[in-house]
Symmetry: D2
C-alpha cells in the first residue's frame, strides 16, 4: 500500500492531507497562508513530512489558486499570492526528495471528484465550484483538460452579461459576479439596504450590520423557510443553471458536479439549477443531456485530487 | 502512397474529395443534397467510387452537419436533414467495403485545419466557422475534443446575450444570432429598412429588394470603402471577438482560426475581431494569449479533415 | 344632460359608444375594420349616428392606434391601417356636423381611466396596457401628456434589453417583446416546443397545435393551479414591474394602472408586477412610491376616454 | 428692470448669481458647501445679499441636487447633503424677506436652457446633463414637468442594462453607469489597467497613477488625435444616444440638449450621440424626430433657470 500527499494552497489557508490509493483522506492538517510567499515551500514540506510519518509516499500533488504551467511544475500567476512564474514543484521537491506536481486548484478538485467522488461513474465530468468565486475543472475522456497554456476552465470569468457587473479581473459581466456565493450575499445585502419588501428576516439577521448576512446564515434562514432567502438561493441557482447550459454547449460533459461552499444549500440550490439548466439547453429534446449533481467530496476534493494527480496522471 | 475520401454533407450540397496522406485535395465533386435522405448513402458511395478511380483508398470520412455519436458511426440528429440515429457509417461501408467514420462537420474542418492548415504549428486549436451559422471544433493536445456525448463545441448556441434575439434552436441570445454572416446581413437590411443615416450605398445595392443585400455583396462594398459596410463588418468582428474571449476563458486554445464564408472579408473582419478579443480577455496582462488567425483551407477544410480522420484518428 | 360619442379604431375592429358626462358607457356597437381605409370615416359616422339616436351630442372623440398630431386632427401614421397624415377629424366632422377630436388610442384610454377609472383619485397617472403589444398613456397634473410631436408614451418600444429580441419596429429589445401578452404566449410555446420540464398541462392544451396556447387559455391553466403557467405569468409580471421601475424614474406618476387583456390574470400578474417594481425602483427607501393597480374600465377605457376628450380637454 | 437671484447647491459648492429678466447672469459668486448642512440657509442668504447690492430683487430660486417637493418649498432627500424633508424655502425666506422657491437642480438647468438657451426655440425640451452622474429635466408644452411627487426625470437611474453595473442607488445597470463622465473615466482606467492594446497615450497620461486620467484630460487627448480616447468618447456617445432613443420613445421632446461637463468634448461626443440616437429610434422613418444639440449655458444653466423659476413659474 502506498500513499500520496495532497496540498491545497489558497489565499488564506494551506491545507494538506495523506491520501491512500483508494482516495481516502487519512490525515489532514493546515497552516495559515503566510504573507511572505517565499516561505510557502517550507510550510508545504513541513506539512508533508508531518503527514507522511513512516508511510511510504510516492509523491506530492499541489493544487494552487492560480494559473499553472502545462508541464505541472510552475505557478504562472496567482492573484491572491505574490507569485509570478514560481517554480513551486522544484522548490518543494528539493526539500522533500519526492516527485512533486503542481496543478490549478479547481483542476485538482475536478480530478478528485472524477477519481473518487461525484464523477466516479463517468469519463466526462465538469466540476463547477461555487464559493467566493466560481471555478471549474474539466475531465474529458478520462483525462484532465488543461488547455494549451494550462489555464483552461476559468469559467468564473466567462462573460455572461454584456456590460454587466464589474469584476476584479478588469472585465464586466463575469459569471462569478452572478453565480457565486459572493453574488448571493451581495444581492441579499442590497435588498436589505434598499428597504425592499420581504426583508424582515434578513434585516433581523443583519441587526444593523450588513456584514452579518453571510452565505451560511442566509442558507440557514432558507432552510427555516424564509421566503426571500429561498428566492435568493433560487435566483443564484438560476444563474448557475444558465451558465451550465452555456458550458454544456461548448464542453458536452456527461456529468456536471456542483461543489464549493454554496453546495451546502443542497436541493434549495440544486432544484433551481437543474430547472434553469434544462430550460436553457439548446435543442434539448434532440440531444443527450448531462446529469447535474452535487459534488461528493466537499472541500477535501482539492487535496484528494492533487494527491492522486501526483500518482496517476502523466503530463 | 495511399488516399482517403473526405465527404462533407450539408443541407444543400454533398461535397467530396480525394485526399492524399499530405492533406492535398486532388479531386473534388459534389451532388445536391436530396429531399429523400434515405438515398444519401448511395450518393456518397457513388461519389467515393468516382473519386477513387484506380487509387488505393484506405477509408472514407464523412463530416455531417449535426450531432454525431462518440463512436463515429451514427448521426444522432441533423436539423437540416431528416435523420435521427442514422447508422450512416455502416450504410456507406456496406456499399463500398471500406472503413467509414462519421464526424460532425465543424469537427472535421477543425481537424483539417489542425492537420494541414491554420493549426499546423500547434496542438491546441479552436476553429470557429462563421457562415450562415457559427460552428466550432476543438483540438486539444493533438486530439479532437468530442465531448462526452459527441456533441461538444456547439459554440453557435452558447448564450451571449441574456433574453436576446430568438434562435431557431428554441433559445434566446445564441452566439450565432450576433456573430454569423446571417446576423451581418440581417443588421444591414434592418438599417436600410429603418431608413437609418449612411445607408445610401446599401440602399442602392438593394434597389428595392432587401434580399439583394448579401454577405459577399456587403463585403465588396466594404472593400470599396463604404463606411457603413465597414462599420457593420466591424460590429460583426466585435461580437466574434467578444465570443472568442469567452471561449478562450473556458477552452484555452493556443491558436484560434476563423473560417467560414465571412472570413473572406479578411482584415476588415480580423482587425476588429482581434481588438475585441484582446479587450475582453480576462486578466490579459497576466496570461498567455491565443493567437487569432484566418483559417487556411477555405471550404475544403471539412473534406480534408474528414478524409484524414478516416485515416489517422482512433476513436 | 349631454352626451359624447367615443370611438376606438383598432386593426381589427372599430368600437364606439355613447358616453354620459359621468363617463357611463350607455350603448356600444362595433364594426370590423375594413381593408379599404378610405371608408373608415363613413363607418365611424354611421356608428355615431346610430348610437346618438335622439340624444344631444356635444362631440366625437376618436382613439386610433397610431401616431396622432398634437392638434388632435390628424393620424400621422398608423402601422396597422393604411394611413399617413390622414385628416380624420375633418373627414368625420364633415359627415356629422359635430366637433371631432383624434387622439392616440392608449392616450384616450389613459384619459378614460384618469377621469372615471383607476386614476380617479390622482392627477398623475400612468396607464400601461398589456395586450398584443404594450401601450401607454400619461396624465400629468391633470392634463394628458402628448409630447412635442404628439407621439409620447410609446413605451412598448423603449429598449429594455440591449441587443435583445427583434421587434417589428426595426429595433431590438423593445419592452413589448418581453412584457406583452404576445411575449407570454411565445414563451409558453417555446417551452413546449423545446420539450422543457413541467410542460404537461400546456402540451395537453396545445394538443399538437401550438397555436391553441393563447393568453386566456394559459391564464385559465394558471387559475387552475398549473405551476408552469403561474411561473410564466410571474415571469411576465417581473418584466412589467422592471419596466415600470424605469418609467417611474422618468415620469414619476402617483398611480400606475395596468390594463389590456393580460390584466385579466389579476393577482397572478399584479403580485409579481408589484414585487419587481418595488425591488427595482432606485432609492426606494428615500422616495415616494407610485401605487400600482389594475385598470378599472377594461376595454371600454378607450371609448370612454375618447368621448370625454371630445368634451373636456382643450388642445 | 427687476432681478432675481439664482442658487445652485451641489455637493461641493454653492454657486449663486444675479440674473436679469432677460436671463443674463450679471454677477456670480460661490462658497464651498459646508459639512454642517444647517448653515446652508445662512450661506445662501449672505450670497444673495451680496449679489443683490442695491438692485430690486423679486425672488430667489434655489436648485438643489436631490428630490424636491412639488410645492417647491422642501428638499425631500439629498444624497450628498444631510437633508431629509428640509423646509429650505422657508428657512431662506425668513432670512431675506423675499419669496423663495426650491427646485431640483437639473430641473432648474432645464428651465434655464428652455428660457434662454438651447431650448429657446421650442416648447418641448429634454435636457440631459452628463457629468459625474447623469441628470435630466423636462419641459413639456412650455411648463416644467415635475412629476406626481416632484421627482421626475431621474434619468440617470433608468435601467439600461439588465443585471448591469452596480450603482450607488442600490440598483444595477443604471444609465449613469454607462453614459456619464465617470463611466468614461472608469473605462479608460480599466483599459490601461488591463494592458489593452492602444493605451500608450493614456498610460503616458497616467504616468503610474490612474487617477490622473480624468474626463478633461482624456478629452484633450482626443482633440489631439489619440485614437483610443476618440473611441472611448464615441463609446460614451453611443450609450448616451441609445438612452436618448429610449427617452424619446417615452417623452417625445422636440429638442434634446446635452449639457454637463462632458459636453465640452463637442462634436467628438455629439456626432456619435446623434448617430446612435437615429439608429436606435423606433419607427424612425415614420415619426418626427427630435433634434439633438449641445446645451448653451454651460454650468450657469442651473443658476439662470432657478432665478427665472423664482420669477415666472407658478407651482
Amino acid at each position: 500500500m502506498t500513499f500520496a500527499i495532497g496540498v491545497d494552497i489558497g489565499g488564506t489557508k494551506i491545507a494538506a492531507g495523506l491520501v491512500s490509493e483508494a482516495g481516502e483522506l487519512l490525515k489532514r492538517e493546515s497552516e495559515p497562508t503566510p504573507d511572505d510567499s517565499s516561505t510557502i515551500p517550507k510550510i508545504v514540506a513541513a506539512l508533508a513530512e508531518r503527514l507522511a510519518g513512516d508511510e511510504k509516499i510516492v509523491g506530492v500533488g499541489i493544487g494552487a489558486a492560480g494559473f499553472t504551467s502545462t508541464d505541472r511544475t510552475t505557478v504562472r500567476f496567482a492573484p491572491n499570492i505574490n507569485w509570478v512564474d514560481e517554480p513551486l514543484a522544484e522548490q518543494v521537491s528539493a526539500l522533500l526528495d519526492l516527485p512533486v506536481v503542481v496543478e490549478n486548484d479547481a483542476n485538482a478538485a475536478a480530478w478528485g471528484e472524477f477519481a473518487f467522488g461525484a464523477g466516479e461513474d463517468t469519463d466526462d465530468l465538469l466540476l463547477v465550484t461555487v464559493g467566493t468565486g466560481v471555478g471549474g475543472g474539466i475531465v474529458h475522456h478520462g483525462q484532465l483538460y488543461r488547455g494549451g497554456f494550462g489555464v483552461a476552465a476559468e469559467i468564473g470569468h466567462m462573460r455572461i452579461v454584456p456590460d454587466g457587473i464589474a469584476c476584479g479581473c478588469g472585465q464586466h459581466g463575469c459569471f462569478e459576479q452572478y453565480a457565486s456565493g459572493s453574488a448571493l450575499v451581495r444581492n441579499a445585502r442590497e435588498r436589505v439596504a434598499n428597504g425592499d419588501p420581504g426583508t424582515d428576516a434578513l434585516r433581523a439577521l443583519a441587526d444593523g450590520n450588513l456584514s452579518k448576512i453571510t452565505g451560511p446564515a442566509l442558507t440557514d434562514l432558507a432552510h427555516d423557510g424564509d421566503e426571500l432567502s429561498i428566492e435568493l438561493l433560487a435566483d443564484l441557482g438560476q444563474w448557475i443553471g444558465e451558465g451550465l447550459a452555456i458550458l454544456a454547449s461548448i464542453l458536452d460533459p456527461r456529468v456536471i458536479a456542483i461543489g464549493g461552499g454554496v453546495a451546502g444549500a443542497g436541493d434549495l440550490l440544486l432544484g433551481p439549477v437543474v430547472e434553469a439548466f434544462e430550460t436553457h439547453l439548446p435543442a434539448l429534446s434532440h440531444r443527450p443531456q448531462a446529469e447535474v449533481r452535487l459534488a461528493a467530496l466537499g472541500n477535501a476534493a482539492g487535496i484528494i485530487g492533487a494527491a492522486d494527480l501526483a500518482r496517476t496522471e502523466p503530463v
